[in-house]
Amino acid sequence: MQACPNLIQSVSVKTIISFFGLILFTFGLCYLSFARTLPSLSPIQSMWSPDTAQIPQLLIHYSWLPRQFVALMAGAGLALAGVILQQVLRNPLAAPSTLGFSSGAMMALTLATIHAPWMLSFGREWVAMAGALGTGLIILALTKKRGFSPLTVILVGMFMTLYCSAVTAVLNVMDQKELWSVFLWGGGSLVQHDWQTFKQMSLPFLLSVVAAIVFVRPLSLIGLSDETAGSAGLNVNRTRMIAFLIAIFVTASIVSHVGVITFIGLAAPALLRIAGIHRFGQRLILAPIVGALLLWFVDLVVQNFGTFSGYAAPTGAVTGLFGAPIMIWLLLRTKSMFQPSVVDHGYVFRTQKPMLVAWVFFAILVLLVVIGLFLGKSQTGWVWGAQALEWRSPRVIAAWMAGALLGASGVIMQRMLRNPMASPELLGVNAGASIGMAIAILSGLGVSIVIQLGFAAVGAFGAMMFVITISRRSNYSPEKVILVGVALTSFVEGITLLMSASGDSRTLLLMSWLTGSTFRIDMTLALLSSGAAIVLLGAAFACTRMQQAVELGPAFIRNAGLNESKARLILLLLVAGMSATATIVVGPLSFVSLMAPHIARMLGVIRVHHQLLVSALIGGLLLVFGDWAGRTLFYPWQVTAPLFTCLVGGPMLIWFLMRREQHAR
């Protein structure tokens, strides 16, 4: 093995010691949980041939032992998928959970539970697997024309995540009481009751490992760049497709059985990178081992200490919850681990009349505001009139303002990070607001809307300060900021999964806010948010030159006579402020900020101030329309504006993107 000396050289002694320390600790925990299940020392054979009359022996054989194996294998498989995805997508944020496989599985389960319960009688895991595989294959089909280029795959993957979560959220809002079993699955529980799961997971897992080893050379080449891989005689597209298929296959087979377990697929490869292991071949072998140990460790902690006030916490949710601080801690210790992201908008068309586009959208927006205010539904059907202005006007104003803020902040964010998948929610501000809201609801302090929104605001600004403090060391370079955002988001996901899997009735309360809602807005709040929106949008237009310089790079920032880190800080603060205001008003679902800049770009609006304007208008009209449609289509139920926008806008955007590809060819 030539790899071994390399490996030992590249890893520090401290890393090796802490690794073995962790292993020892894990084995200690393992013994503890074994001893708890089997109080008196019985013959060791009870592990594989239990006395069926002895309940403790049954538990060891049918529950404890398979659980340890399933934990190890699930961790290994998710890490394998993560390391492969990060390699082919050349992006440290790519992971099974960020590409929408788990969300697809969750959506399929939710749909089946409500509309086709008979499907579940074949076994829940098959429905979930169909969902995960289906999502993965849709991503592949949609990105095929572009040769599965990394950015397109990530973009479409993010869309799928958002989209599937939105569909699930709508179903949750409408049929909440039926879905506790889906929530339990979503929590990511490793509880076992026989060897079935282990058996069903083993074959796909082994097949994927073998496939990954067979393709190790093409896979390590493709991590460099398409040109290098191509000149080495590699069929880039086919290699990518095979890599995706392996990752999708192994993820689907795990997720379908044990539910949503985030973070492992992201963290195991990241840990190796931090430990200084850069060769793909080594990472491919080591990542599954690290992933297995990580998940096993978390699960053992859960098995031993995870039951509080009569509730056994699911492992997946706990992983998300405790993964976040560890991730942030690791981030603080590392200097740099990412290559700069790639500029690849791929929009070639450029309009000659950007202001005309702006006026058209303004006209549509005014029309939609009027419809939103005057056209509504009653028990007897459609009604036109001013009778419900009292209820509708705050909602319409709030939707408009929040939409404008989201649209504009998306432009700044995408330009600053030079990444078309960047959206302000990556800053973690939304996540901070959600944490604040969760605390308000769980502590029982949130007895009024003002107090609840106050908590959300404190959370949002707390997260903002946190992110800014952390990124000061790296001169506010956006790459680290994003990872903090991802960590905070996974923390929020952990909270909601933990709450929902416990059957906590307040979950539905929190969810109704998380899916974004204009319900809580009264006139005072609507006017306040308008004021904030005008100030922030004004600031955004005032510093378009700075945005342009930051997008073009350090040399241009200096040329423009600006201080590099100061310019970045100002833009970060601006985006955070916009995002925080919008989140407080319409909740943390910010799909609009991803979508509006793209529509503007697609219509050929290129220059910063034009794109800001058009994107703000589009954002506003999307949310105003979403608010109106969400209120009327499912009457008397109300689907929230951001949710509805995502539901309808998602496929539209994908369709646009795909059509553009066809024209380009």
Binding site: P117, K177, S189, D504, S517, R520
Partner: protein, 297 residues
């Protein structure tokens, strides 16, 4: 506590406006909206069905009894009811629980709002429900109907107790099965605990439960906590897939003593966050299921 004080004030202000003896029935709220299933059921039993409730379809599925009149308007989501629609049906009283207290300012623009606490704090469900029922009776001027509901509920439990006493059952484990691994086991703070203790049945689940009266557990943990081989198991419908039969495919379920000796019963849907009407329904269906089980054994 604040709710009680508020109610006292409210009730006393009513009394000031017109002494109860002289008041015409129309002075009391006639068009009541309930954003809570348990309070809606209580209203029906008191002879004043609500004019609108949140999530009507959900009520029909999960509470079943007492049936709502067809004219009841569906107001949509429990946490974000349709305010335009709510205003258009012109209620004169809106009943909520503390989980909806944050939307109270909006509701108060439409009609007076009363918030009643049952499952939002720990405690004996029936005691809390009796108190709520009496308060509702005062607010609606239907004290007699409220007392009748309380009496009939206690009577139902008393009847059930007399039947059950003959059999001398050991303990019961009440669970809702979500899938083959996960169950909710009901104990302290639940409707089931409250009714079972009054009809003389012992609950085998003595560990902690949440405010809503259950504990979300994996099957292995439940097995480990309860190794009493005499225990009866009560499955609550709706069951996943094909019910108890599908559980038999799994060895850990199959080898449970209660499964092997078929010491289990299944109960039809009873509103798990219910009040007195649900308690009465539970004592009926529980005894019926036990009787038919005993006949077969």
């Amino acid at each position: 506590m604040r709710v009680i004080i508020f109610l006292l004030f409210w009730a006393s202000s009513l009394a000031f406006e017109a002494p109860a003896s002289q008041v015409k029935p129309s002075a009391y709220p006639q068009r009541v909206v309930s954003l809570d299933f348990a309070l809606a059921a209580t209203l029906v039993e008191m002879g004043l069905p609500p004019v609108g409730i949140a999530d009507k379809h959900g009520y029909e599925r999960w509470a079943q009894e007492p049936a709502l009149p067809d004219s009841v308007v569906d107001l949509g989501s429990m946490y974000e009811p349709n305010l335009e629609l709510l205003e258009s049906i012109q209620p004169d009283l809106i009943l909520i629980t503390p989980y909806q207290v944050h939307i109270k300012p909006f509701l108060e623009k439409i009609a007076p709002v009363v918030s009643m606490t049952t499952y939002q704090v720990a405690g004996d469900v029936i005691e809390k429900s009796v108190k709520n029922t009496r308060e509702l009776g005062t607010i609606l001027g239907r004290e007699a109907q409220a007392e009748a509901l309380i009496t009939s509920t206690y009577q139902a439990m008393q009847d059930a107790k007399q039947v059950v006493e003959k059999y001398a059952f050991p303990s019961f484990l009440v669970m809702r099965v979500h899938d083959k691994q996960h169950v909710w086991v009901y104990g302290e703070n639940s409707l089931f605990q409250s009714v079972m203790s009054r009809i003389g049945l012992q609950n085998a689940w003595t560990q902690k439960t949440n405010t809503w009266g259950f504990s979300s557990q994996g099957l292995p943990a439940v097995t480990r906590a309860n190794q009493n081989k005499e225990t009866f198991v009560v499955f609550l419908e709706p069951m996943p897939d094909e019910g108890v039969r599908s559980l038999n495919e799994s060895p850990l379920w199959r080898l449970q003593p209660w499964m092997q000796e078929k010491r289990y019963i299944t109960l039809p849907p009873v509103l798990q966050y219910g009040a007195l009407p649900a308690a009465r329904r539970l004592s009926h269906v529980f005894v019926e299921a036990l009787q038919s089980k005993k006949e077969k054994m």
